[in-house]
Amino acid sequence: MIYSLYIVNKAGGLVYQKDFSDNLAKLSSNEYLVLAGTFHGVHAITSKISPLYNSSGIEMIEAEKFKLYCFQTLTGSKFLLITAPQQNNVDPYMKRIYDIYSDFVMKNPFHTPEMPIRSDQFDQSLLKLIKNINGP
C-alpha cells in the first residue's frame, strides 16, 4: 500500500508531491518543502558518515506506522515513497514510477528541468499505476 510520493531535485527542492491515501494528515505546502529539504540534508550526511567508503545515503527508514523508501537516480533526483509498514519490496514500483517520470516529464518540452512538475499526463499515469498497486 503506497501512501505518498515525493520527488526531490538535485538541489534539495521539492519538485512533486502527491498523497494516494486519505488517512494521511494534511500538511501545508511549506511543510512539504521543509520535509523534502530536511531529507535531502540527512541523506547527504548519512552518505558521508557511513563507516564504509563510497556508500549511498539513506535507502529505507522503517517506523512503526510506515516505511520510507528512497531511490536516488544517477542524475541526483530522489524519489521518496512512503508505504505501509508491511511493504517489503518497492523496487519494481520505483522502476515503474521512474519510467513514467522519464516519459511524461523529461520528454515534455514545456517542463524545465529541476522545476516543479506540472504535467496532466504524468499525474494521470501515476494515479493509474498507484491504483493498480494499491488494489481496489
Binding site: 516519459d103 511524461f104 523529461m106 520528454k107 515534455n108 518540452p109 514545456f110 517542463h111 506540472r118 504535467s119 496532466d120 499526463q121 504524468f122
Partner: protein, 209 residues
C-alpha cells in the same frame, strides 16, 4: 610568372582529392532507396528531438498561431521529401487526380510510413464542401507532451499538419491544413487534421465529375 609554376601543382592536388572521393565508394546518393523501407526509429529519440524543436521555436515566436505556423513549416519540409520517396516506392503507374484518391493516399500510405498504422478515420465535413478531416486517436508524436493551461489552444500536431499540407501541395491540391484536439470517450488525446482545400481544387473536381 611564378603563378604558372604554382597553378599546375594546385590542379594536381584537387584531382587527387576527387579521385580519392570516387575510390572511397558509395555515397549516400548511391544507396538503394528501398534500403530503409520499413525502418523504425526509437520513439524516445524522436520525442526528445521534437521536444527540442518545440523549445527552439518557442524562443523565436510570439503567440500560439505563430508557433503553430513554424511547426507547420518544419513539417512542410519533411512532407515534400516524404512525398517523393513514398510515391517512388509505391510504384503506381497513374498519378492521383481526384480528391478522394489523394486523401486515401495520405490516410494509408503516409500514415503507415510515419506511424506504422493507418489513420483512424477519414471524414468529409457536412457543413463545408471544401473541408475534410483525418483523425488519429492516439498521435504518437505528441504522446508525452502535456500542454500547460496557458497554451491550451496549441496542438503540437501542427507538425503533422505541415507534412499533410506538403503532400497535398505536391499532388497539386493546394490546401490549408491545421491540427485540432477533439477528445472523445476513451481517447482524450484524439487529434483531427482539418484540410481546407482551395477553390480551384473544387472547381477542377467539378469538371472531372
Amino acid at each position: 610568372m611564378s603563378d604558372s609554376v604554382n597553378t599546375p601543382r594546385l590542379s594536381t592536388n584537387s584531382s587527387i582529392y576527387t579521385e580519392q572521393r570516387v575510390a572511397r565508394g558509395k555515397t549516400i546518393l548511391d544507396r538503394n532507396l528501398n534500403k530503409t523501407r520499413g525502418a523504425e526509429v526509437s520513439l524516445s529519440a524522436q520525442s526528445f528531438l521534437f521536444s527540442e524543436m518545440l523549445q527552439y521555436t518557442q524562443k523565436r515566436v510570439n503567440g500560439i498561431q505563430d508557433l503553430e505556423r513554424k511547426l507547420n513549416e518544419f513539417g512542410y519540409r519533411v512532407g515534400t521529401r516524404m512525398l517523393e520517396l513514398l510515391t517512388w516506392r509505391e510504384k503506381v503507374a497513374k498519378r492521383e487526380t481526384r480528391v478522394l484518391g489523394v486523401l486515401y493516399f495520405i490516410h494509408n500510405v503516409v500514415w503507415r510510413s510515419l506511424f506504422g498504422k493507418q489513420a483512424d478515420s477519414l471524414e468529409k465535413s457536412t457543413e463545408n464542401e471544401d473541408e475534410y478531416m483525418i483523425s488519429d486517436n492516439d498521435p504518437i508524436l505528441t504522446r508525452y507532451i502535456s500542454v500547460p493551461k496557458e497554451l491550451s489552444q496549441l496542438n503540437c500536431n501542427a507538425f503533422v499538419a505541415g507534412i499533410v499540407e506538403a503532400c497535398l501541395d505536391g499532388y497539386q491540391f493546394p490546401a490549408r491544413v491545421t491540427a485540432h484536439t477533439v477528445p472523445i470517450d476513451g481517447f482524450p488525446q484524439r487529434t483531427t487534421i482539418l484540410i481546407k482545400l482551395d477553390k480551384e481544387v473544387l472547381q477542377r473536381e467539378e469538371l472531372l465529375k
